[in-house]
């Protein structure tokens, strides 16, 4: 007889969740795929904590823990593993695992004993760590495995994994599969939350599709096919397969001279890294090992110096201060939006080189604000972007770049942690930037939907370029990328 770990019945929290029914059995890996993001955070938060419900019941291991009549606001024994690590980075792995436990009563720490225990737990999962390794020194994948073991030690009823593909590379994702298999055979249960069905299908036993705060489909194993999922993502495929869009990209095979040159770069894991991005070209740099992306982005910002080699953009050293260069780090909605500034000032932040006396003339700023009303509505007059949604904040960042009119744009994982409709908006923006003549470099650990906007793909291996693939050859990534561009009919 199956043991139910989590059951949600008719859970309703207007305007985020409507009539949610969901059940997860012990030792299962169930995926939750968000066609759009509405309600997913709220759904996860009611799993983690018994907060007030408008209607419905929540059961954990067949025990009613929350309903519309009474919510005790207590935390449930469910672990959440996502982009933000739950490990204390300044402490060792042993301390994170055995000392910082929910019901830990350890007073005297015997490190050698803890190291033996740690190795006993991590070795079957393919991880060998030295004694007293600081959590901060672990790679993203190692941190993930340590958090999984920590959740196992805490006897978490359910482990929620969110945005994992944006955290670890595709190679690591392949390594994760047997680890999850092993942990489920030891009695653990997982809810895998993501935006792309390919990664969910490769890991999960069952899937729930969610859109507009409703569960719109419960997929059983034999239904987890591309054909069925396409019926739910018609908007996306219709948009990316638009005839004129496809023709435009196919025409861009031969570009002009190189705008960005990365020559013989040696720094940390980079080994004589050499590549170029031509004018009007969009290049995706895929670093499956997740070794160089962060450092390369720092070098484009000119915050890190190479041991040897150089990065030139239009013949000059790259720098974040240059207005003809735009750099977008991961999670730009958090890192590039300033809550102290108004929405309009956030958007105009890097337009001062194009509009004379921008910051002195309020009337000019107001006139620009009126032009932006069509895209942002009343939000444009808000004195702070605090109340703006994630989508609105991302759009503010890219609107800022559109006004800045850079020659070169470097973006880190633009399609990470966003839903299908946000991906459509982003692809539209990248298309517009490309049509305006901007060269784009996308740094990524997974292909996601980036091939849709790419002219060329550069694959790195061990910190150096392994091979280059042109748009016409992208079909070989059919099973890896979330979506690949279709070829125009000859």
């Amino acid at each position: 007889m199956k043991q139910e770990v989590l059951r949600l019945e008719q859970v309703t929290i207007p305007p985020y969740l409507w009539d949610i029914h969901m059940h997860i059995y012990e030792t299962e890996i169930v995926a939750l795929i968000g066609i759009n993001a509405l309600g997913i955070d709220e759904l996860l938060s009611i799993m983690l904590r018994n907060t007030a419900l408008h209607y419905g019941h929540v059961y954990i291991k067949d025990r009613l823990v929350n309903d519309y009549l009474y919510s005790n606001r207590k935390e449930n024994n469910i672990a959440l593993i996502g982009r933000k690590t739950s490990l204390v980075e300044s402490m060792t792995v042993e301390e994170n695992l055995f000392v910082l436990r929910k019901r830990g009563r350890m007073r005297l720490v015997n490190f050698s004993l803890l190291t033996v225990q740690m190795r006993r737990l991590l070795a079957p999962l393919g991880l060998n760590l030295a004694e007293r390794t600081l959590a901060g020194n672990l790679t993203a994948f190692e941190k993930l495995v340590v958090q999984l073991v920590k959740a196992q030690l805490d006897k978490s009823a359910l482990i929620i994994l969110t945005d994992i593909s944006t955290l670890i590379s595709e190679a690591d994702l392949t390594r994760l599969k047997p680890i999850l298999g092993r942990l489920t055979s030891e009695g653990m249960t997982f809810l895998y939350v993501c935006n792309h069905h390919q990664e969910a299908f490769s890991l999960a036993n069952r899937c729930y599709l969610m859109r507009e705060g409703r569960i719109i489909k419960h997929l059983y194993p034999e239904q987890m096919t591309d054909h069925i999922i396409e019926q739910y993502t018609n908007d996306f495929s219709d948009f990316v397969d638009l005839g004129d869009r496809r023709d435009y990209y196919d025409r861009q095979v031969e570009s002009l001279k190189p705008l960005v040159s990365v020559k013989e770069l040696n720094y940390k894991a980079m080994r004589s890294l050499t590549f170029h991005v031509k004018e009007h070209e969009t290049v995706v740099l895929l670093d499956s090992d997740n070794l160089v992306i962060d450092d390369l982005f720092e070098m484009f910002s000119n915050t890190a110096g190479a041991l040897s080699g150089e990065i030139l953009v239009a013949g000059e050293p790259s720098s974040a201060a240059r207005r003809d260069i735009a750099l977008v780090p991961p999670k730009p909605d958090v890192s590039l939006i300033f809550d102290q500034l108004s929405v309009l000032d956030n958007i105009l932040f890097t337009s001062d080189h194009r509009i004379e006396a921008l910051w002195l003339s309020e009337s000019r700023r107001k006139a620009l604000g009126r032009d932006l009303m069509a895209d942002f509505g009343d939000r444009i007059s808000m004195t702070t972007p605090r109340l703006c949604s994630q989508h609105e904040r991302i759009m503010m960042v890219y609107q800022r770049i559109m006004l800045q009119k850079p020659k070169f744009l470097c973006v880190v994982q633009p399609f990470a942690s966003i839903d299908m409709y946000q991906r459509i908006s982003l692809i539209e923006i990248f298309d517009r930037l490309k049509r305006r003549g901007c060269s784009i470099l996308i740094l990524s650990v997974s292909l996601s939907d980036s091939l849709q906007i790419a002219d060329r793909l550069i694959i790195l291996n061990g910190g150096t370029v392994e091979r280059e693939v042109l748009r016409s050859e992208f079909s070989q990534f059919r099973d890896i990328a979330s979506s690949i561009p279709s070829q125009s009919k000859e």
């Binding site: 007889m1 199956k2 043991q3 139910e4 059951r7 019945e9 008719q10 309703t12 009539d19 029914h21 059940h23 059995y25 408008h54 209607y55 019941h57 059961y59 067949d62 519309y68 009549l69 009474y70 569960i215 719109i216 489909k217 419960h218 059983y220 069925i228 019926q231 739910y232």
Partner: protein, 340 residues
């Protein structure tokens, strides 16, 4: 605790009395202090402490139950729940308790059940006299007879008579899932004479405890109306082959039956209307015209909720081009040989 303090109004009166008593006591002690009878100011600290305690107590004893009652009333008015208003432990006042009692009589479960049963019987009767149903069935028998396959004629006739017998007798009973599935197979067999190999029935049972799942008790005629809906509104309109899948799974406490078809699916507006009717309680559908569609689903949903509780029932998801899924959630109750 005094039984009279079970309503929020009574509790509020009690708290007000306590507050007045504290104020009077404070004034009295202040007078004593002014006349020099009491020299120290310890009584101010004591009164403050009592005031804070009264505040905290009021929050737990009055404010939280009041919020809960208000929430229940809101859910009642929007149709989410009927039972909770009757079961409210701390109602707002005595008058509302009396109103609830009257309401309970009006919402008498037996009466609702009768209405629901009548509707089920009506639909069953309608099936018997539905000319298309009979015509198609008899046409099938005739064709088979013409083709001189007498054994298949016998099979079909047997299926038809078994189905009618099962449908007409004791709609109010609980039956085992096995019996209900046998009836569904019978119904499907009859429909197959009409559709041929165009429609297929697939039954997937949880392999771990298949035997036990099949012994679970469910209300009679729970599956057949849903299967009929799937065939008529899903598979019949679809060109080419269609498959209807019955998926049976269970946990310690629950039994889940999912009826899936890969038919044409529903338009969003139709799906929203059905979902709204399933998530709120209403018996208006009994009065409605059968042509409105979705009556069978709402009827089955209401019968389950009346019999087992508001947390059980039907959930429908659908997508055009993919098909429709109806998940039935029931308590897991194993047949012990006698019917309750």
């Amino acid at each position: 605790m005094d039984r009279r303090l079970t309503t929020i109004e009574a509790r509020l009166r009690f708290i007000t009395a306590c507050l007045v008593a504290l104020v009077v006591m404070g004034m009295f002690l202040a007078t004593l202090y002014r006349h020099g009878t009491v020299s120290s100011l310890w009584w101010i600290a004591l009164l403050s402490l009592l005031l804070v305690a009264l505040g905290v107590w009021s929050h737990w004893w009055v404010v939280l139950p009041y919020r809960r009652s208000l929430h229940i009333l809101r859910l009642f008015s929007t149709g989410y729940t009927y039972r909770s208003i009757v079961d409210d432990k701390v109602p707002i006042n005595e008058e509302l308790v009396a109103v609830n009692d009257v309401l309970q009589q009006l919402l008498n479960t037996d009466q609702l059940m009768n209405a629901s049963k009548r509707q089920a019987q009506f639909l069953a009767l309608q099936n018997q006299i539905n000319p298309h149903f009979l015509y198609n069935t008899l046409e099938g028998i005739r064709s088979e007879a013409l083709l001189a396959g007498l054994s298949s004629v016998a099979t079909m006739t047997e299926a038809l008579s078994t189905f009618f017998r099962y449908t007409i007798s004791g709609v109010e009973n609980l039956v085992t899932l096995k019996e209900e599935i046998e009836n569904t197979k019978n119904y499907f067999l009859i429909q197959q004479f009409r559709f041929g190999t165009r429609i297929k029935l697939k039954i997937i049972t949880d392999g771990v405890d298949e035997e036990e799942i099949l012994r679970c008790r469910i209300p009679k005629l729970t599956l057949q109306p849903i299967v009929e809906n799937s065939i008529v509104h899903g598979l019949e309109c679809k060109g080419g082959e269609g498959t209807l899948t019955l998926r049976l799974e269970g946990s310690h406490e629950r039994l889940f039956i999912t009826v899936q078809d890969d038919g044409v699916g529903m338009a969003n507006s139709v799906l929203s209307a059905i979902q709204r009717n399933l998530s709120t309680r209403s018996f208006d559908y009994v009065k409605r015209d059968e042509r409105h569609g979705g009556i069978a689903l709402i009827n089955v949903n209401n019968r389950i909720k009346i019999l087992f509780g508001e947390q059980y029932g039907l959930t429908v998801t659908s997508q055009q081009g993919v098909g429709t899924d109806v998940m039935i959630s029931l308590p897991r109750s194993i047949a012990d040989g006698s019917e309750s």
